[in-house]
C-alpha cells in the first residue's frame, strides 16, 4: 500500500501546490457551500469541469501503457454525444440512448484497435484517421446543426447532482475506480504493462498481445463515450464541431503529468486522474485571476513545463539528491561530494 502512495506522491504534491497557489490569491477558492441541496464553490467547479478530461485520461492511460496513443478521443466524444442526442431527440428511451452512445464509443475503439493490433499501423497514424474523420461522422449524425434536446433525464448526466455532488464528478470517480479495480484485481494491468515494455518477449511468453491492444483501445473508446455523454448533457445539445475539441491533448497531458511514460509500461490510473485535476485547477485558476484571455494558453503551457521538469526522471533524482545532501551537510565527513571532484 505504501508503494501505491509513493507512486502518486509527486502528483498529489503538485496538486496541493497548485491549489495552495490559487488559494493564496483567492482565499475563497476552497470554500464550499450547500445551495439548494447542491454543493457550490470553485473547487467543486474544478472537479466538475475536469470530468471530460478525467474520463478520457482513464482510457488514455491504458493505451499509453501499451506504448500507444489515442488521438481520436476528442472526435469520439463528438460522435457519441451526437449519437446520444440523436437518439434522445428521436424519442428513444433514455437507457437506449445511453447504450447507443456507449456502443458508438466501443465501435470506434474496436476500429482503432484493429488498425493498430491486426493491421499493424502505428497508433499515432491509426488514431489520426478517426480524429479527422470522426468529426465528419458526428456532423453527419447532427446533419450539420447543433442538435439540441430537452430531456431532463439525459441532462442529469451533465448538470444533475447526487447527494449534492455534480453527476459528472460521480461519473469520473466511478469510471476511474471501476477501471482501476478491473486492471489491478485481475492480471490485466500486469499483462498490459508487459506488452507495453516488450511486446516481443511478452508474446513469446504466451501473452495475447493482439487481444490486449484491441481491449485498451475499446476501453479508451468507452471512456470517450461517457465523456461525450457528459459534455452533451451539460449543454443539452450535440455540437459536432466543438464537443471535445483538443481534449485529446489535455488527456495525454494528464497521463504524462500522472507519470506514465509515453514509451509504455508502468501506469497508474489514479495518478492520471490527479493529473487531470491539476490541469483543470490551472485552467480555473487562470480564469479566476482574470488575466486577459489571450494570456491563458501561454501561462498554462508555462506551468505545465515547470511541472514536467520537476517530475522528469532525469532531474528528480538530482533534486532529491540535492535535498538530501543539504540535509546531511552538518556532517563534515560527508566525503561523497568531495571525492567526486
Amino acid at each position: 500500500m505504501s508503494a501505491g502512495i509513493r507512486r502518486i506522491l509527486p502528483q498529489l504534491l503538485t496538486l496541493l501546490a497548485v491549489v495552495a497557489l490559487i488559494t493564496a490569491f483567492f482565499p475563497s477558492f476552497l470554500s464550499v457551500e450547500m445551495v439548494d441541496g447542491r454543493l457550490v464553490g470553485s473547487a467543486i467547479d474544478v472537479l466538475k469541469r475536469g470530468a471530460p478530461v478525467a474520463l478520457l485520461a482513464v482510457g488514455m492511460t491504458l493505451v499509453i501503457a501499451t506504448g500507444g496513443i489515442d488521438l481520436s478521443v476528442g472526435a469520439v466524444m463528438a460522435i457519441c454525444g451526437a449519437a446520444g442526442a440523436w437518439a434522445i431527440s428521436n424519442d428513444y428511451p433514455l437507457v437506449a440512448a445511453l447504450l447507443i452512445a456507449l456502443a458508438a464509443g466501443l465501435a470506434c475503439g474496436l476500429w482503432n484497435g484493429v488498425l493498430v493490433a491486426l493491421v499493424g499501423i502505428q497508433p499515432i497514424v491509426a488514431t489520426l484517421i478517426l480524429m479527422v474523420a470522426g468529426r465528419g461522422i458526428a456532423q453527419m449524425i447532427t446533419e450539420g446543426r447543433i442538435l439540441t434536446f430537452s430531456h431532463d433525464g439525459f441532462a442529469f448526466f451533465g448538470s444533475g447532482t447526487i447527494f449534492g455532488v455534480p453527476t459528472p464528478v460521480i461519473l469520473w470517480l466511478a469510471v476511474g475506480i471501476l477501471f482501476t479495480l478491473l486492471v489491478r484485481r485481475t492480471a490485466l494491468g500486469l499483462l498490459i504493462e508487459s506488452v507495453g515494455i516488450n511486446r516481443r518477449a511478452s508474446a513469446l511468453s504466451g501473452v495475447n498481445a493482439t487481444v490486449l491492444l484491441v481491449f485498451v483501445y475499446m476501453a479508451s473508446g468507452i471512456c470517450a463515450a461517457v465523456a461525450g455523454i457528459v459534455a452533451t448533457a451539460d449543454i443539452r445539445g450535440a455540437d459536432a464541431n466543438n464537443a471535445g475539441l483538443w481534449l485529446e491533448l489535455d488527456a495525454i497531458l494528464a497521463v504524462v503529468i500522472g507519470g506514465t511514460s509515453l514509451l509504455g509500461g508502468r501506469f497508474s490510473i489514479i495518478a492520471s486522474l490527479i493529473g487531470a485535476m491539476i490541469i483543470q485547477a490551472i485552467d480555473t485558476g487562470i480564469l479566476l485571476a482574470g488575466f486577459p484571455s489571450e494570456y491563458n494558453l501561454v501561462i498554462k503551457a508555462g506551468l505545465v513545463v515547470i511541472i514536467l521538469v520537476l517530475q522528469s526522471p532525469r532531474l528528480s533524482p538530482r533534486i532529491s539528491a540535492a535535498l538530501s545532501r543539504r540535509r546531511k551537510e552538518p556532517a563534515p565527513a560527508g566525503s561523497a561530494t568531495e571525492a567526486r571532484e
Binding site: 485481475t186 492480471a187 500486469l190 515494455i197 518477449a201 511468453s205 504466451g206 495475447n208 509500461g265 566525503s335
Partner: protein, 507 residues
C-alpha cells in the same frame, strides 16, 4: 600506468556493487576482468565510462584524473567501449551505426558514398564480407550486430578498449578474428580490458587478470601464473562442483512424447523428422545462422511451420503461434534475452510469473503470495543475485537476467522445453549448476532441446545430438559418437570448403 582506478565505490539501492575497487591497466596489455554474475564487472566499466556516476574513488588516465560524464566523453578521452548489452540503432543502416556521430559530411550533408566506404573499411578484417553496409542493422543477427559494435569501438579507442563479454554470441571463427584484431591493437600500445566467462579465452588471450567478487577486488595477477582451479576458486570463493556427464542413454524402447513429421518452413529450415522421448536431452549443434534458432522459432510457433505435422499420443498438435505451443506443453527460452526474454521494467517476481499468468488467463490472477513464493524459490534454486524479488529485472547483471528467463520456463514445468544458448553470459559456477538442473528436470520427465555453441556443454548434457548445417538437419550423433571431435567433423563435413565462417544470413 595507462589507466589506474583507485578506491572505486558504487552503490545501488539495496546493493553495494563496487566496494573500494582498485584496478590498473598498462599500455600494450590485455587485461581480463573476471568474476561471478553480479560481481560488479559491468558496473566498474560503466563507472569508468561515465554511464554511472561513481560514489567515491578516482580514475587516472595517463596520470591525470579524469571524470567522463558519458560514453561520448570517454571516447573523446580515447576510451572505446562495447557494453554487454549492445546498444546500437537497429533502424539505421550498418554504415550509419558504424560512423554515427562522425559521418563524413560536406556543407552539412552526409556524404553517403564516402560513409559507406569508411564503414566497409572498418569492417574489413572481421570476415563480414557478405554484410551490406547500406542495409539496416536490425536485419542482421545478434552476432553481426556484436561485431559491428566491436568495430565501432575499436575505431573510436585511441588508448583504451573495453570489451564486456564480446564473444558471448560469436562462434569460434568470429572469435578468432576478433582476437587477432585485439592482438594487433595490443601491438599498437592500446590497453584492453576484456570481460568474459570463457576461461579458455582468458588463458589464450590475456596477459594479466583481475578478479572481483561481491564488488570487492580479490586478486590481480599475471595470467600465466594462475592455474585454472585457482582462478575458479578466486571467482567463486569455493571449489567448483563439476556437473557429472550424462550417461548418453541408448535406452531401448523409450516412451516418445512428441513426433514431428516433415516439419519445415521454406527459407528457414528444410523439413525434418524428429521424435522426442520422455526425459531426454536433445542437443543441437551448428554454426550461427545454420538453422538452429530457426528450428527453435518454428517448433515454438513463432514462425510457424509450413509443412509437416506434429503429434503426440493424443493426436495432432497445432503450433501456429507461441500460445498454441505453450498450450501443447512447450516452453522456449530464446537466445536474445534482451529483446525476446526479459521485460526490463517489471520485477523479478513478475518476470518469473509472467508465462504462468498468461496461461491462466487475465481473469485469474496468480495471488501475490504465490508469486512471491515462486520467485523466492527460483531465486534460491538458480542462485539469482538480486537485492530482492521486487527489483526490476533490467537492473540485474546480464547473467542473472538470463537466469530469470530460465526460471520463467522452469516454473511452467513444460513437457518439452527449448533452450537456446541457456548458459550465455553465465559464470562458471552457475554454468555447472544449470547443467545439473537440466539433469534434474529431465529425471522428472521433461524433455529438452538444448541449442548451444559450446560443444563441451552439449557433450556433457545431451542424450543425442542433431547437427544443423545450411538450414538443414544433416546428422545425428548418439551414444558413443557424442564427443566434440565428431561434432566438429559433422559441422564441417560439407563439399564446399568447410568451416566457412558462419555464413550469417539476413533474417
Amino acid at each position: 600506468m595507462l589507466l589506474s582506478i583507485r578506491g572505486l565505490t558504487k552503490s545501488f539501492p539495496g546493493t553495494r556493487a563496487l566496494d573500494g575497487v582498485s584496478f590498473d591497466l598498462r599500455a600494450g596489455e590485455i587485461h581480463a576482468l573476471l568474476g561471478e554474475n553480479g560481481a560488479g564487472k559491468s558496473t566498474l566499466i560503466k563507472c569508468l565510462t561515465g554511464v554511472y556516476e561513481r560514489d567515491a574513488g578516482e580514475i587516472l588516465l595517463d596520470g591525470r584524473p579524469v571524470a567522463p560524464q558519458s560514453t561520448h566523453d570517454a571516447q573523446t578521452l580515447g576510451i572505446g567501449t562495447v557494453y554487454q548489452e549492445v546498444n546500437l540503432l537497429p533502424n539505421l543502416s550498418v554504415a550509419e551505426n558504424l560512423t554515427f556521430g562522425r559521418q563524413p559530411s560536406r556543407a552539412g550533408l552526409v556524404q553517403t558514398r564516402k560513409m559507406r566506404a569508411q564503414a566497409e573499411e572498418m569492417l574489413s578484417g572481421y570476415g563480414l564480407d557478405h554484410v551490406n553496409v547500406a542495409q539496416s542493422l536490425g536485419a542482421y543477427s545478434v552476432a553481426v550486430q556484436q561485431i559491428v559494435a566491436i568495430a565501432r569501438a575499436v575505431a573510436l579507442s585511441g588508448k583504451v578498449l573495453i570489451l564486456d563479454e564480446p564473444t558471448a554470441s560469436l562462434d569460434s571463427a568470429e572469435t578468432e578474428m576478433l582476437f587477432s584484431v585485439v592482438r594487433d591493437l595490443r601491438e599498437r600500445g592500446l590497453g584492453i580490458i576484456f570481460v568474459s566467462h570463457f576461461l579458455d579465452q582468458v588463458f589464450s588471450l590475456t596477459d594479466r587478470l583481475t578478479v572481483l567478487r561481491n564488488g570487492q577486488h580479490i586478486v590481480t595477477a599475471e595470467t600465466a601464473e594462475v592455474s585454472r582451479l585457482d582462478l575458479i576458486h578466486h571467482m567463486l570463493g569455493h571449489e567448483l562442483e563439476e556437473a557429472e556427464h550424462r550417461r548418453h542413454a541408448t535406452k531401448t524402447a523409450q516412451q516418445s512424447v512428441l513426433t514431428f513429421d516433415g516439419t519445415g518452413r521454406r527459407g528457414k529450415i528444410a523439413p525434418f523428422d524428429l521424435t522426442v522421448s520422455r526425459g531426454e536431452v536433445i542437443g543441437m549443434a551448428g554454426l550461427l545462422g545454420s538453422g538452429r534458432t530457426e528450428t527453435a522459432d518454428m517448433l515454438f510457433g513463432r514462425t510457424p511451420p509450413d509443412s509437416g505435422k506434429a503429434h503426440d499420443d493424443d493426436g495432432p498438435v497445432s503450433l501456429r503461434n507461441p500460445r498454441e505451443a505453450i498450450a501443447a506443453g512447450f516452453g522456449y527460452a530464446p537466445e536474445d534475452r534482451k529483446t525476446d526474454g526479459i521485460i526490463g521494467e517489471l520485477s523479478v517476481r513478475e518476470n518469473i510469473a509472467l508465462a504462468l499468468q498468461a496461461r491462466r488467463g487475465w481473469w485469474r490472477p496468480l495471488p501475490r503470495a504465490e508469486q512471491r513464493e515462486l520467485a523466492e524459490r527460483y531465486i534460491e534454486r538458480l542462485d539469482i543475485r538480486t537485492s530482492g524479488a521486487e527489483k526490476p529485472v533490467g537492473e540485474l547483471s546480464g547473467g542473472n537476467q538470463q537466469k530469470v528467463v530460465l526460471a520463467r520456463w522452469l516454473a511452467m514445468n513444460p513437457r518439452f522445453l527449448i533452450l537456446d544458448e541457456p548458459t550465455r553470459g553465465i559464470d562458471v559456477g552457475a554454468h555447472a549448476e544449470i547443467l545439473r538442473l537440466i539433469g534434474e528436470v529431465v529425471e522428472s520427465g521433461m524433455s529438452i532441446l538444448l541449442i548451444s555453441s559450446e560443444l563441451d556443454e552439449l557433450v556433457a548434457a545431451s542424450d543425442r545430438i542433431i547437427v544443423v548445417r545450411d538450414r538443414e538437419h544433416v546428422a545425428e550423433l548418439v551414444g558413443e559418437d557424442i564427443e566434440t571431435d565428431a561434432i566438429v567433423r559433422a559441422i564441417a563435413a560439407s563439399d564446399a570448403p568447410a568451416a566457412a565462417p558462419a555464413a550469417e544470413v539476413a533474417r
